[in-house]
Symmetry: C2
Subunit: 343 residues, 2 copies
């Protein structure tokens, strides 16, 4: 199935150069790219790369900087990410990719895209590279103070993602908290536990709830989807990235510490390169904002061309898998229908 | 300075064997150990080890299991950890060490030990092995839903710890949140930011507040003390431990993956052993519950004899450094004096 992805060419630390290069690399027979940003600049950059498929430039003269937060979504209605969202709204693109600031992207998407029925807030789903299958962490930072009911919604969004992107049927869902026993955690987590154990509201799909998981379980692959609030989720995700970077640095120092160790490391160079590729977050594309009409993939702010290309492929995979339809199914007929039946 | 440390011999996955062995190893000329637990069992175990100093057994016929939570502190007034706290209360020991469940230890300490003036809730301080100096993370799980004011208190407790245990003058304090700019985070973090920027209340020591830090900064050594709520703090700490374990496992697999890599790893064995020792949490002793009359060191539940010995040494170091006096100084004359002056 051929899909069109709208790519915010002006968002990210390395924009627009790395974004154009990545989008050009991702474009191909089944994947058309619509680049939003300053036409002359993007045209010049595109001439340097040789896209493998159709790449069109859609003019957007404004953009949100990395320092701007959610308010910029109101101030800049013609920003490159707003124009990308409008392409989805008008049916010209199936999904959006941006490496801009998460706050700005989430706020713009909420303003410009329609929420799916039953979705009070979209959730940001990040992928942890566990074995044998990846683990989805949701919410990774879209809302810092959610209501407990939103964690049930995030469980449905995350389950739909696991089904579509990782081909997992009946994904296992865990609640991130402190302490393994029921009733452990803060007020939000304790209430969310009760709600996740109960039947899903309004005829939604059953959630295969496996109970509490702790921070130490995140990289253990115990469940397929971990639900949490955006504050704890973002801190956990970045703590893991920081710890992985720390371990890699320590290792490098240890390997280069002595002559014999140095000799050994030459022999192991390839094994270490393979490992680095596995834990490299750029190969995973980025976090997906779920629950809107059209998925928004938030690439890392420091994404290189490789990271942007991976984000485009992730967005295309989710669109081809019709994740919005799957989310609609999982959430069920919804409150609106419920009300209509009662009157 | 000679100190007495009360050690809960019945707490932890490997109790009492590993606890007795660790306590016996830690005992020495300047460090007396008071072991609380079942006398016959502890006496028999002590006969197997050769303590380097005085180890006395204080009878306690009850104990809190690893599965029990905070309520057990009420149900079991004669538990081994309660008896250890009573030894501190009576002035017979300067600090407590336990490898039992964190919830049970914190609740028992709050019930049995007096809080220092101005301390509304004790905070649990964990140590992250950053370079060149370690970083303190507080609260690592003592209270899941703190008030914003408590994060200012935790900043003072953590600063006292950094001064005493890591010889850092004017420790830099950061607030764990999502997003680097002021005003980012959940409601609690946003309010705590305002309070940390203001003058400390009631004549407390100035806090050298460096602003927000993110999850990715935890292992970067950007600040000396990171303050956060016990929910996010515990999740972050365990996420880091889990990620370090994951990286080590992946590395082992990569190193054993090919013949040349295997050959290399033989040459590097010592470098890797050094690295493992550096990131091994057992060498750091455990988390310290601060803010009570007498520090309580919470060793890892799975602590071996080595971990228990490190916890005893940490407790002794904090007691010798007179951390409770330092905390008293940092918190200042307190609200009570303030009131008296006004009337």
């Amino acid at each position: 199935m051929a899909v069109s992805i709208a790519v915010d060419a002006m968002g990210g630390d390395n924009a627009p150069e790395a974004v154009v290069a990545g989008a050009a690399a991702a474009a191909g027979p089944g994947l058309q790219i619509l680049l939003t940003g300053r036409p002359e600049q993007l045209g010049a950059l595109l001439a340097e790369h040789r896209p493998g498929g159709v790449v069109r430039v859609i003019p957007a003269e404004d953009w949100i900087t990395m320092e701007e937060g959610s308010l910029a979504s109101w101030r800049r209605p013609r920003s490159s990410v707003a124009v990308a969202c409008q392409l989805v709204r008008r049916g010209q693109a199936a999904a959006v990719v941006s490496a801009g600031s998460t706050g700005g992207i989430v706020a713009t998407a909420r303003l410009r895209l329609r929420a799916l029925p039953g979705v009070t807030r979209p959730g940001l789903a990040a992928v942890l590279p566990t074995s044998p299958k990846p683990t989805i962490l949701i919410d990774a930072g879209a809302i810092a103070d959610p209501k407990p009911e939103m964690l049930v919604l995030f469980a449905q969004l995350g389950a739909a993602y696991a089904e579509i992107a990782h081909a997992i049927s009946e994904p296992r869902v865990g609640l991130l908290t402190i302490g393994a026993e029921p009733g452990k955690g803060n007020k939000l987590a304790r209430r969310a536990y009760e709600l996740l154990q109960a039947d899903p509201p309004h005829g939604g799909s059953p959630i295969r709830f496996e109970g509490n998981v702790e921070g130490s379980d995140l990289m253990a692959g115990r469940v397929d989807v971990v639900v949490t609030d955006g504050f704890a989720g973002n801190i956990a995700l970045k703590a893991i990235e920081g710890a992985a970077g720390f371990a890699a640095g320590e290792l490098r120092a240890a390997l280069l510490g002595s002559v014999t160790a140095r000799l050994g490391s030459v022999l192991q160079r390839r094994a270490l390169r393979d490992l680095a590729a596995r834990v490299d977050r750029e190969t995973y594309g980025g976090a997906a904002l779920l629950g809107m009409e059209g998925t928004v993939v938030v690439a890392h702010g420091a994404a290189t061309a490789k990271g942007v290309a991976a984000a485009c492929r992730l967005a295309a995979d989710l669109a081809r898998g019709q994740i919005t339809d799957r989310i609609r199914e999982r959430l069920g007929p919804g409150r609106a229908v419920h009300f209509r039946r009662r009157t």
